[in-house]
Symmetry: C2
Subunit: 416 residues, 2 copies
Amino acid sequence: MNLTPSPFAPASFPHLPEVKGVRAATGSRGFYARRGVTRDDVFLFAFDEGTTCAGVYTVSRTASADVRWCREALKEGKGLARALVANSGNSNAFTGPKGRDKNEATLAALVATLGVPKEQCFLAATGVIGEPLPDPNYVGAFIPELAAKLSPPDWEAATRAFMTTDTFTKAAGTSLDMDGTTVNFAGIIKGSGMIAPNMATMLGYIFTDAAVAPDVLQEVLQDITDETFNCITVDGDTSTSDTVMVFATGASGVAPITSRDDPRLDSLAMALHSVCLELAQLVVKDGEGAQKFVTIEVTGAASHLSAQIIAAHIANSPLIKTAMAAGDANWGRIVMAVGKSLEPIDDEALAIWFDDVQVAKDGARMPDYSEAAASAVFAKREFTIRVDVGAGDQSATMWTCDLTHGYVDINGAYRT
Amino acid sequence: MNLTPSPFAPASFPHLPEVKGVRAATGSRGFYARRGVTRDDVFLFAFDEGTTCAGVYTVSRTASADVRWCREALKEGKGLARALVANSGNSNAFTGPKGRDKNEATLAALVATLGVPKEQCFLAATGVIGEPLPDPNYVGAFIPELAAKLSPPDWEAATRAFMTTDTFTKAAGTSLDMDGTTVNFAGIIKGSGMIAPNMATMLGYIFTDAAVAPDVLQEVLQDITDETFNCITVDGDTSTSDTVMVFATGASGVAPITSRDDPRLDSLAMALHSVCLELAQLVVKDGEGAQKFVTIEVTGAASHLSAQIIAAHIANSPLIKTAMAAGDANWGRIVMAVGKSLEPIDDEALAIWFDDVQVAKDGARMPDYSEAAASAVFAKREFTIRVDVGAGDQSATMWTCDLTHGYVDINGAYRT
């Protein structure tokens, strides 16, 4: 099928800095051949010796074989990474022993071709769930060809290789001066549907030539994930393959950060946070069928978790998301979503704003409520819905998109 | 807007038996006048002295003023009922003190006109959330006109009066021989969107001329609700007005059931269960935009609650519901939904059936999987998805519908 491009698609692929210590290659293994499509569908990243990594994975009880391997490798490999292979077109989830066989064959090929330890190789797969590969070595047999092409990354080509229903390539990068050395960050991400905030979402990879001890990198990534990837939703569905990983090659030559007390960690975490936030928001902006990007802010909650739960109920409500699509400032549905969250609220203190237009206060519609002013906000491509629930001083923010005919079309036609 | 009729709309309104001790009247108060529509939008039911009742209401934290009053009346009135008034077009939710004023004025009119105790009068409102009525006595002033018209119920007219986005009138009835006396049941319901299984859904009323003590009736209704109204979903959204009530006039002349040990209670509960189940399923069949009616059965769960949670994740998943709409037998998405439930499962024992076609067993696709056979089931208007999660011996059933373009249209155009 032809997917209509998202209105948020950037004019061109963003400039990403060079990240020392990272090489990449992409190729077409043929995952899309039976649909009559030829496109790159596998990428291989290779990392210099000493590269550390951190990962956050789906909490799904039906996680893919690849996710299960990554969890094991992260532990067994002591946070070191030498290779990453991902394919699109098949998620290798719910494939039983065959899924594990595919991983073993791919890992054996990486060990043989690159001469690296097995448990420092990470795998990912995205696409159809439950369809076994034609043979266990389907990806493994392709590794030598990819390895021969390894070179400084063509970020755009890599991003294209793991797209599924994505309508545009999504990437973000930044640089940082650390002790007089420039440290670079490049992040790429794929994801459009089956997106819900549950510990990790989609496939996202951030590469940096900073040097960070694995345990520190893991803690930082987890904190950042809670404020970025876990705060987005497209449809409330959680993928079996969700993965976010950071690889730090140390090849910039900067001295390693080995403890949380290192004064340089703050600026590193801020840089990583900005890249992750941009990647996360790009996923919502390319949400299946999305025409609008909406920020949900909940304030006055009894706890941060409570604020998050209320925000998620608003961000996931099909009734609110269809109203966004229609440009209908249907604020009563926001009251409904707050109510069904079952979180502590003071319903007689509830207040609601659309951008700067207050539509409700003290648990009722504004006396001078203007439908025209409220509708003008809902007509915008990007806006903020803020709700104060009057039960405390905690807050949370989430990002969501509208529910359009495009979502229904895409998900009737595309076999994920 | 013109709503496309549901494919499940019956050819005609069902035959309902006469329920002794119940009178009704309907009228057009003008709630839809500003949309240029003239239709009945208020009903009044009056019950003979001695009528008992039971009620189950939304758990929403932003419940309507009417729901709050009903909870209070159920307690203060000791389970006795003399009147029920409902209007469509305005839900009287999130209307603050004005909402309570409307209720007080309506109740005062009922007391003055019918000469009945205030706390034996029940109220309901459905429609737009958050819009205050033009004046507090808007419904109250209409009561004398309705009271003058009270007569044996025209069930179809009553059902029409409280419809909102419903595309057909929904009702069910049955009769029962009890000690040689015929006892009758008539149930009417409205609801199409904002439907999720959360203790009670929509506005549903069942009338019977059986005689049942209020505490017994309440227990029976709660048990039945858990297996009927709480097992349906259209969009996972929970209304601020959800109400299910049973009124038992005792006017059949049958001896009252006053304890749970009465041997006649089983047959009464079965009759009530059959009416509630039919009403609940009718709501799904008239789900906004629904073209398909799908039963979700989860077996092999660790507990009944766990089975319910897994079933709800399947029944509410937008990805599964769009696949149903497209007739795409996308069973991988069912694996996804089971996984995201976070409930205990044995993913290597997972099995899935579409009607009698088994598509997965032992945590993988069937070796002889036939896409044609699976698709043939998804092409049907009604079918069952059964999942065995291999973690125990508990089960649960839910009923859901597909997610279509119609849902997006209706909820962009209709202000609930």
